[in-house]
């Protein structure tokens, strides 16, 4: 099992908890929209969202 096989995927509620505003909230919305589209781009957007989640919690 690789490290990408087991992921903790944040829910929308988790993102709401981050309480992002301004351009950050818009960017998060962009990535969420892309991730729902699936495919390679969707997977990349999902990864970016996970990263955003991690960094935003650290920046809180």
């Amino acid at each position: 099992m690789s490290d990408t096989d087991l992921l903790v995927v944040p829910s929308e509620t988790d993102f709401s908890d981050l309480a992002l505003s301004g351009f950050a909230a818009l960017a998060a919305g962009d990535l969420a929209g892309l991730s729902e589209g699936g495919g390679i781009e969707g997977r990349e957007a999902g990864d970016a969202l996970l990263l955003l989640h991690r960094l935003a919690r650290g920046a809180a």
Binding site: S2, G22, F23
Partner: protein
């Protein structure tokens, strides 16, 4: 944030100072240099920045010079939801006290109060913006970098829909950027250097692990293949040994069969050779027979050709003779034609000579006629010239005569009109005498006359009538006589009797002139370039020469030139005809020569051919004779029959032998194949044995390596490297996508922020610099370019004054953009030093307008500079006078209130409104600290 009150005591040179600025709008603190304006501004920051026990230079410098006094600063402030009074004493007896009145009462002292005050400021305002909104004269005039201030950005964010976010978003962006830079360079390329993993390094590790696993797997596969091969080789060797034995036995049997067949084949070959020999002999004889027949046929052909050539040669003799005869005839005719042409040419030359002779005679005749005309005309010309020389009537003389004649006629006419008229009549015929002339008068005859002088009439009966004309008539009579005399004088000079004669003589003169001209031209034409004597001599010479020629010429000389020309033309035509006839004869002669030459050439060629054919016939006859002599007595046909019979017998024997040979199988190829196969089997057997020996050695050596264990480890390493690379790339991709998305949204947000900021600055700027004023903001919301009247300039290119004015306007615009709770006072210390009066006049109202929602503290040592700022509160130092200036007011003259009694050294100033606004004791003793 707003300052409601500021109180200083023993602050540098200030002993005591209290001011209550406007909460919104402009408060002008004016005063001369060194009165402490800048110190007041400084205290607004220092009270929050420095602890009361600070030993910093800034605090040490607060101490009044020459006195051991503590410095006190107290401010009443509202910011956000807070309203508090903050007191700080420095130096001796240092103390800090914070009394919070709202939202709930709270009192703190010491460092706790200091920290709490800073906490409140940090919580409610942008301290950096507050610092930035302060502008001092002489400070850097760099435009305000608005993008650095979160409160301003918050304000812009609100205007732009809160797109920029707050500190947290900014921190988040910086973390995202740091994450991005872990994997990528700032220009977006893969990071390939530095410590730690990076994509190229991980790819190399993965590729190396993969290569190692592949190498070991290939090694194992090779060994397994080699083991399998060794087993195969053992089976192969057993098979090859069996094949080898079988092939050797087969080879012996084939050798025996092949040797028997070889012997029979040798006998057949001998028979075949004998048969071929006999066939050669028969063919030779047949060839000889064919050759003789050929020579014989060729001889017959050549004899036939000889006969034909002979006949042709005979046939050509007659035409040749005929052509030769014709050639002789034509050669004679050509000679005759040549003679005729010569005769005709001579006749033509003679005729031409006669023509020239006749033309010369004609010239002599013409010359005689010219000489005759000259001899006739010359005397007449001399006569005409002589008459003309003697004639005195020329144009001038004729004009004078005509003029004199007209004068005589004119005077005569006048005399007739002026003279007395006489008319005598009688009833009967009567004779009378008038001036001695008799006249007859009667019933039908009357005497009429004119009297110009005195006239006497004698009538019958002795009657004498004397009639005298008047004086005018007599004068005219004299004039007439004079004119008549003048006329006669002219006539005499012209040698004529009357005027009519003169006119006739003039006509004759004109005709003589014309005749003279005609004669001279004719003589000149006849003489041409000769004189008359020369012409005469030339004529004589020609006559003599012509006479000699005629005498020498024989009869037949033409009588005239026309006759000579006719004869000449005929002779020339005869010559041309002779030449044409000669050409025809010459052409015929040429044709005849060609024909003779052609026939002679044919005759020569036939003769040569005849000789050649005769030589061939002789040669063939000799060859035939030689062949017959060689043959001997026996005919060639018989010999040929015998030879062919021998051939047939040999051929029958050969066929019989070949049948027998065919009955035996040919095993030579099979024998060769078996031999080759046998050699191949031996070779393969040896190779298989060698290869098996090598494989056994290699497998024995590899047994101890433990390759499968190595392969398992390498494959594990390869998988881990691939997973690590995949995870890295996925993290890098995620970081890049997150950074790109965030950057794009952030840039969009920044662009949106710029608009309200730009509009605010341009709104103020247009009022100062005109309606064409515009600015360009950088990404950091800093003014980078300015336009006026369409021309864009970098900020650095602007004048110092304009840059200072832009700095003030930018701060005012920023202050107006932030919210009331977020905002901070704008502090302007001696600004607009470079503005001209007109610009200042414009700036004043703009400053006041921009400060309607903002607290602006303006310090200046030039009170008049801000006269146009209204509404405003004006506090003058050191008097402390306070004035409320309303919109539209001009700056009033200052009114200084008298010092309060009992307050030595302290002056309190009251505004015109009567409301105490500020209290000053700049030079008196401060109150004791404990009295507060």
């Amino acid at each position: 944030m707003k300052f409601h009150r500021v109180s200083l005591r023993d602050y540098k040179a200030i002993r005591s100072f209290v001011i209550e600025p406007r909460e919104t709008g402009v408060t002008i603190i004016e005063g001369e240099n060194e009165v402490g304006k800048s110190s007041i501004a400084e205290a607004l920051w220092l009270v929050f920045d420095q602890t009361d026990d600070s030993s910093s230079a800034a605090v040490r410098n607060l101490k009044p010079a020459g006195r051991d006094a503590s410095t006190e600063v107290e401010v009443d402030v509202s910011t956000g939801q807070y309203r508090f009074t903050y007191f700080k004493r420095f130096h001796r007896g240092s103390r800090t006290e914070l009394r919070i009145a709202a939202p709930r009462q709270e009192t703190l002292t010491g460092r706790e109060a200091h920290n709490r005050a800073r906490q409140i400021l940090d919580e409610t305002m942008d301290r950096a913006l507050w610092e930035a909104l302060r502008l001092q004269q002489g400070a850097s005039l760099e435009p305000l970098n608005a993008g650095d201030h979160q409160s301003l950005l918050r304000a812009l964010d609100v205007a732009a829909g809160e797109l920029l976010g707050g500190d947290r978003e900014q921190t988040l962006f910086e973390r995202i950027e740091q994450e991005f830079l872990r994997y990528w360079t700032s220009t977006g390329r893969e990071k390939a250097s530095g410590d730690g993993p990076n994509a190229p390094r991980l790819r190399r590790a993965r590729d190396e692990a993969q290569a190692e696993a592949e190498r070991i797997a290939a090694r194992i596969a090779s060994l397994e293949e080699r083991a399998n091969r060794s087993t195969e080789l053992s089976d192969q060797i057993a098979t090859l040994v069996a094949d080898l034995e079988r092939l050797k036995e087969q080879q012996g049997e084939l050798s025996r069969q092949d040797e028997a067949r070889q012997r029979l084949a040798g006998s057949v070959e001998t028979t075949a050779a004998r048969t071929a020999q006999l066939e050669g002999e028969a063919n030779r004889i047949a060839n000889q027979l064919t050759a003789r027949d050929s020579v014989e046929a060729s001889l017959a052909l050549r004899k036939s050709a000889f006969d034909r050539a002979r006949v042709e040669l005979d046939e050509i003799a007659a035409p040749l003779a005929e052509a030769s005869a014709r050639l002789v005839r034509l050669e004679a005719a050509a000679a005759e034609a040549e003679q005729a042409i010569g005769a005709a040419n001579r006749s033509a030359a003679s005729a031409e000579e006669f023509v020239r002779l006749s033309e010369r005679e004609l010239q002599v005749t013409q010359m005689s006629e010219r000489l005759a005309r000259i001899e006739s005309n010359e005397p007449e010309l001399r006569g005409v010239i002589g008459w003309l020389n003697g004639c005195k009537v020329d144009r001038r003389a004729l004009q004078e005569i005509a003029g004199a004649e007209r004068e005589v006629e004119r005077i005569r006419g006048l005399r007739e009109s002026e003279g007395a008229s006489i008319e005598v009549s009688a009833l009967e015929a009567t004779a009378l005498e008038v001036d001695g002339q008799e006249a007859e008068i009667g019933p039908d005859r009357t005497y009429s006359g004119k009297v110009h002088g005195v006239s006497t009439l004698r009538l019958p009966g002795g009657i004498v009538v004397r009639i005298s004309a008047g004086a005018a008539a007599r004068e005219l009579e004299g004039a007439l006589a004079a004119a008549t005399a003048a006329l006669e004088e002219c006539l005499a000079q012209a040698g004529v009797e009357s005027a009519q004669e003169a006119r006739e003589t003039w006509d004759a003169r004109i005709k003589s002139e014309e005749r003279r001209k005609f004669l001279m031209e004719q003589i000149r034409a006849d003489l041409r370039d000769l004189s008359a004597d020369a012409l005469r001599e030339k004529l004589e010479r020609e006559r003599a020469a012509m006479g000699a020629i005629r005498d020498a010429a024989q009869a037949g000389v033409p009588e005239s030139l026309d006759t000579a020309k006719t004869l000449r033309d005929r002779a020339l035509q005869a010559a041309r005809d002779a030449v044409e006839a000669g050409k025809l004869v010459s052409q015929d002669l040429q044709d005849a020569r060609s024909r003779v030459e052609q026939l002679e050439r044919q005759q020569f060629e036939l003769s040569t051919s005849l000789k050649s054919v005769a030589a061939d016939v002789a040669r063939h006859e000799a060859e035939l004779l030689r062949l017959d002599q060689e043959r001997g007595d026996r005919p060639l046909a018989d010999e040929l029959a015998s030879a062919r019979a021998a051939v047939d017998a040999a051929t029958a024997n050969l066929a019989e032998g070949r049948l027998a040979l065919a009955a035996l199988p040919d095993v030579s190829a099979t024998r060769t194949t078996v031999a080759t196969e046998l050699a191949g089997v031996e070779r393969r057997l040896q190779e298989a044995r060698d290869e098996r020996a090598r494989d056994v050695g290699v497998l024995d050596d590899a047994g101890a390596e433990g390759l499968h264990g190595l392969l398992s480890g390498a494959e594990q390493q390869q998988m881990e490297a691939a997973q690590e690379l995949g995870a890295y790339e996925r993290r890098a991709t995620a970081a890049k996508r997150l950074f790109d998305t965030m950057t794009r949204r952030r840039e969009e947000a920044r662009e949106n922020y710029a608009d309200p900021m730009r509009r605010a600055i341009e709104g103020l700027g247009k009022r100062v610099f005109g309606p064409s004023f515009g600015i360009e903001l950088s990404e950091a919301l800093q003014i980078v370019r300015v336009t006026r009247s369409g021309e864009w300039l970098d900020v650095g290119q602007l004048s110092v004054g304009m840059r200072e004015q832009l700095s003030v306007l930018t701060r005012l615009a920023c202050a107006s953009l932030v919210s009331a709770s977020d905002g901070a006072p704008v502090v302007l210390d001696d600004v607009f030093g470079w503005a001209d009066p007109i610009r200042l006049q414009k700036l004043g109202p703009i400053l006041a307008d921009a400060a309607r929602e903002t607290q602006v503290l303006l310090f200046t040592c030039h009170p008049r500079r801000f006269d146009s700022v209204a509404p405003a509160r004006v506090i003058s130092l050191p008097t402390g006078r306070v004035e409320e200036r309303r919109e539209g007011d001009m700056a009033p003259a200052p009114e200084v209130a008298p010092r309060a009694a009992g307050a030595a050294g302290r002056s309190t100033v009251t505004a015109r409104t009567g409301t105490p606004q500020a209290a000053f004791d700049l030079f008196g003793e401060p109150e004791a600290a404990g009295t507060r």
